[in-house]
C-alpha cells in the first residue's frame, strides 16, 4: 500500500485551509487602497480578521504577521504525519534566532524584537545559553560546527558578516541533509532552484562590491545545480552570465532581472522574478493529490502571502505610489 495514504487527513485539512488564502483580487484591493488603514481593512474579510482588533495602529502590522506565522506552523506541525517536514521549514527560524543572539552577545547589537518566538525547533533559552556559555553540544551537528567555528573566529576578530556567511551555509547543508531523508523529489528540486537563484544573486552582489574571488567562493552555497565558479569569472561582464544561462530554466529570471539590475542598480526586480519562479514551481503541488507536496505548497503559499502583505503595508505606510508597489508584488499561489 502506498505510504502516501498517511497524508490523506493532512491533505484534506490543507486543501480546506487553502481556500482561505488571500486571492489576487484581495491583494489588488489592498494595493489600490488609498491609505495603509484602508489596506489593512481589506484583511477584515480574511483569516487575519481576528488579529486586526488587537492592533493599536497600522504600524504594528508586523505583529499580525508574526501571529499568523506562528499559528500556521503550530497547526501544520500538529497535522503533518511527518513532523520532520515542518521542521525542515522552521529550521530557518532557528538559524535566524542564533544569528540574532550571536550578534547581540558578541557585537552588542541588542535586537530582541527580531527573534522569532515558538516557531523554531530549538527553544530561545537554549540558544541563548549555548552562545553565552560557548557550549554548543546540544545543537544539531551542522549548526554546532558552524557555531564553534564562529566563536573561535570571534576570539580574534568580530566580523558580523561571518555570522551570516557561516550560519547560512550550515543551514543549507542541514536542509539538504534533511531533504535526503524525506525523499521527496518535489522538495529536492525546490531547494536546488532556491539555492541556484540565491547563488546568482550572491554573484551579482559580490561583483558589485568588488570583492576577491575567494570571498565569492566562500559566499556561494555548494548545494545547487549551477556551479557559479565554473560558469563565470568575476571579471567578466554581466552579459556573459546572461549568455551562459540562456538555455537554463532560469533564463527568463536572469535575462530580465539582470537587465533591470543594470538599469536601476537594485536587485528588487531580480528578487521578484526569482520568487515568482519559485512560486510557479510550487503551484505544481496543487495538482498532486496525496503526499507531502500539498502541505509544502501551502507553507510556501503562506510565506509568500505574508511577504506580499509586508510589501504592501510597507509601501502604503511609506506612501509609495501604487504602481511602484505593484512592481514589487509577487505572484500569488491560489
Amino acid at each position: 500500500m502506498p505510504s502516501n495514504d498517511q497524508y490523506a487527513y493532512a491533505v484534506g485539512r490543507v486543501r480546506a485551509m487553502e481556500t482561505r488564502l488571500l486571492d489576487r483580487s484581495k491583494i489588488d484591493r489592498m494595493v489600490e487602497a488609498k491609505s495603509a488603514e484602508e489596506a489593512l481593512k481589506v484583511l477584515g474579510e480574511s483569516e487575519y480578521a481576528e488579529y486586526l482588533a488587537e492592533l493599536g495602529s497600522v504600524h504594528e502590522f508586523e505583529k499580525m504577521l508574526d501571529y499568523e506565522l506562528r499559528r500556521v506552523y503550530l497547526e501544520l506541525r500538529k497535522i503533518s504525519p511527518e513532523p520532520e517536514l515542518i521542521s525542515l521549514f522552521t529550521r530557518k527560524f532557528d538559524y535566524h534566532n542564533l544569528k540574532v543572539i550571536f550578534k547581540a552577545h558578541k557585537l552588542g547589537e541588542k535586537r530582541d524584537e527580531l527573534l522569532v518566538q515558538e516557531v523554531g525547533n530549538i527553544p530561545l533559552t537554549e540558544l541563548a545559553r549555548a552562545v553565552s556559555d560557548e557550549d554548543f553540544r546540544n545543537l544539531p551537528p551542522q549548526m554546532r560546527q558552524a557555531a564553534e567555528k564562529l566563536s573561535e573566529h570571534f576570539r580574534m576578530e568580530a566580523d558580523p558578516q561571518l555570522v551570516d556567511l557561516l550560519l547560512d551555509r550550515a543551514m543549507y547543508a542541514e536542509i539538504t541533509e534533511m531533504i535526503v531523508e524525506l525523499d521527496s523529489s518535489f522538495l529536492k528540486d525546490y531547494f536546488i532552484y532556491l539555492v541556484d537563484l540565491l547563488n546568482i544573486k550572491t554573484y551579482l552582489r559580490v561583483k558589485r562590491i568588488n570583492r576577491p574571488k575567494e570571498f565569492l567562493e566562500q559566499a556561494l552555497l555548494p548545494f545547487g545545480e549551477v556551479n557559479m565558479m565554473k560558469l563565470v569569472q568575476l571579471a567578466e561582464p554581466l552579459e556573459v552570465l546572461v549568455d551562459r544561462l540562456m538555455f537554463s530554466r532560469y533564463a527568463t529570471v536572469i535575462e530580465e532581472g539582470v537587465q533591470a539590475y543594470q538599469k536601476t542598480d537594485t536587485l528588487t526586480r531580480y528578487e521578484k522574478l526569482a520568487d515568482d519562479f519559485l512560486i510557479k514551481y510550487a503551484k505544481q503541488a496543487k495538482y498532486l493529490v496525496f503526499g507531502p507536496e500539498p502541505i509544502i505548497g501551502y507553507i510556501l503559499a503562506k510565506e509568500n502571502e505574508l511577504k506580499l502583505i509586508r510589501i504592501i503595508m510597507v509601501g502604503k505606510i511609506n506612501k509609495l505610489p501604487t504602481e511602484e508597489i505593484k512592481e514589487r508584488l509577487r505572484d500569488v499561489y491560489v
Partner: protein
C-alpha cells in the same frame, strides 16, 4: 452433510469473495474518511457531500457479499441440502469467485483514492460535487464487470 474437497473449495471461493472485496472497501472508505475528516475539521458544512463520496467504495464489499451468498446457495450450504459435486466442480466455483474477489479488492482502493480526490475538489469548489462523484464512479464500471463475470461463471457450472 458430508464434506468433500470440492465443497471445501467452493466455500473457500465464498470466503475469498467476501473477504477480499470487503477488505478493499474498508481500505477505500478509510482513505476517503481520513481526507473528509481533514476537510470537515476546517469546514463542518461539508459533512453531507463528503459522506456521499465516502460511501462510493462500499459497493465492492456488497458485490463480494452477493457472490459469497450465491455460492452458498448454489452449493446448498444454505438450507442444508448440499449438492453432490466433484473436486473439479468445487474448484470451478472457487474460480467463479476470483473476479469479484481480486477486482473488488483493488478497485475499491482505487475508487477510494478517486473519491478522496473528489473530497479535495469539493473542499475548493463545493458546486462541483457531481463531477467529483462521476470521477469516482468511473472506477465502479470495472467492479461491475467483474461481478458480472463471477455471476456468469457461477450460474453456468452444471452440478
Amino acid at each position: 452433510m458430508e464434506f468433500t474437497i470440492g465443497l471445501a473449495a467452493a466455500i473457500m471461493g465464498a470466503a475469498l469473495a467476501v473477504g477480499l472485496a470487503c477488505a478493499g472497501s474498508a481500505i477505500g472508505i478509510g482513505i476517503v474518511g481520513q481526507t473528509a475528516a481533514g476537510v470537515v475539521s476546517e469546514d463542518p458544512d461539508k459533512f453531507g457531500p463528503t459522506l456521499l463520496l465516502q460511501s462510493l467504495p462500499g459497493t465492492q464489499g456488497i458485490y463480494g457479499l452477493l457472490i459469497g451468498f450465491l455460492i452458498l446457495q448454489r452449493t446448498g450450504v444454505l438450507g442444508g441440502n448440499i449438492v453432490e459435486m466433484t473436486v473439479h466442480q468445487g474448484f470451478a466455483v472457487l474460480f467463479a469467485a476470483l473476479p469479484i474477489a481480486i477486482v473488488g479488492l483493488f478497485s475499491a482502493i482505487a475508487q477510494g483514492k478517486a473519491a478522496a480526490a473528489g473530497v479535495l475538489l469539493i473542499a475548493k469548489r463545493p458546486e462541483e460535487l457531481g463531477k467529483g462523484i462521476i470521477y469516482a464512479v468511473m472506477v465502479e464500471t470495472y467492479a461491475v464487470l467483474a461481478l458480472l463475470m463471477s455471476i456468469m461463471i457461477l450460474f453456468n457450472i452444471q452440478f
